[in-house]
């Protein structure tokens, strides 16, 4: 039997302890699902794909943000106990479900959307996979939007207006995309006090990203481009 402590409530709340049978290859999401289906149907949590694609099941497991569907209990259990809480740095809706709106809003604030050119395309843009800029974008493109990096980031805790690793990483993929037509617009969106220069380089995001993205690398790239654009008077 495992002792599973789960946060119940909103910002005000407490940990409730449940006993869950231990199984081989059990994931943390399996624990939460067992509790909700067998022990307490009022438990609120969020998941969808269960295979590490959708990014919706991230929670804090023993004080570390993780994707719970791909985290084996065996990896995180400490003396037969697992403590599960909602993600840090986001408002709690109920129990383990956080309000993701601030996280996704920051993606928009960072202008994290592709800007096509005005002219109608006459042919498909040819981008070589070997192009150095394309490689930079490819290294950062597979973000699943789980907000683990956002929850791990101390700068987000200290400065809630900070755009955060995921939004800045997205901006980097766009300024590295030869087809995007508003590079300066993207840089302007991340150049203010809440943007890329607020990053202290702790690299908690790098350590915790479940799909192996390096947001600090992306943010450093943005810092260099913002600096060069400012020197050239283009910001």
């Amino acid at each position: 039997m495992l002792k599973v402590e789960i946060w119940r409530g909103t910002e005000e709340g407490r940990y409730e302890t449940y006993e869950v049978p231990s199984q081989p290859s059990q994931t943390v999401l399996d624990l939460v699902t067992f509790v909700q289906r067998k022990l307490d149907p009022s438990l609120a949590y969020r998941f969808a794909c269960r295979v590490g694609v959708c990014g919706s099941c991230a929670m804090t497991v023993n004080d570390t943000p993780r994707w719970t569907c791909r985290t084996h209990v065996q990896k995180v259990v400490e003396r037969g106990r697992v403590r599960i809480a909602p993600l840090r740095n986001l408002p709690i809706v109920k129990d383990l479900a956080t309000d993701m709106v601030p996280f996704f809003d920051k993606g928009q604030e960072a202008k994290g959307r592709f800007i096509p050119s005005d002219a109608a395309a006459t042919s498909v843009a040819e981008i070589s996979p070997e192009d150095p800029k394309r490689k930079e974008a490819d290294a950062a493109i597979e973000c699943i939007g789980c907000a683990v990096c956002y929850a791990a980031c101390d700068v987000v805790s200290w400065r809630p207006e900070y755009l955060g690793p995921a939004a800045l990483n997205r901006a980097w993929t766009l300024v590295s995309d030869a087809r995007d037509s508003d590079r300066i617009g993207h840089l302007q969106a991340v150049a203010d006090d809440a943007g890329c220069h607020a990053c202290h380089g702790h690299q908690n995001c790098v350590e915790h990203c479940p799909v192996g993205i390096n947001p600090t690398r992306s943010i450093s790239g943005l810092k260099r481009l913002v600096l060069m654009a400012a020197v050239r008077g283009r910001l």
Binding site: T64, A152, G201, H202, Q203, N204, R224
Partner: protein
Amino acid sequence: MRNHPSYRAFLVHRLSGIALALFLPAHLIVLGLALETAMLDGFLDWAAQPAVKAAETILVILLALHLFGGLRLLAIELLPWSDRQKDWIGWAAAAALAVGAGFVVRSFA
């Protein structure tokens, strides 16, 4: 969550920066004493005690850590990314310790 080399490098850089901020006013006061030879000599006699030298050594190491840690940060932010930058943390720490060792040799030799 914070148990990794990059976060420790951040903490060392921040704490050594605070030490630098505290040290600079004291350093400037001592420089001001140079106008009064007797007072400066008195201070230098006090500073020659082994315990004070040991404290100075720690301060020198902290300042060197801040210098080399700062150079590492500048390299991360201004040069193309290198996956070897975790090695740079080790090199910065080694360089700071080497500076501290040089100070010890110079002070006690």
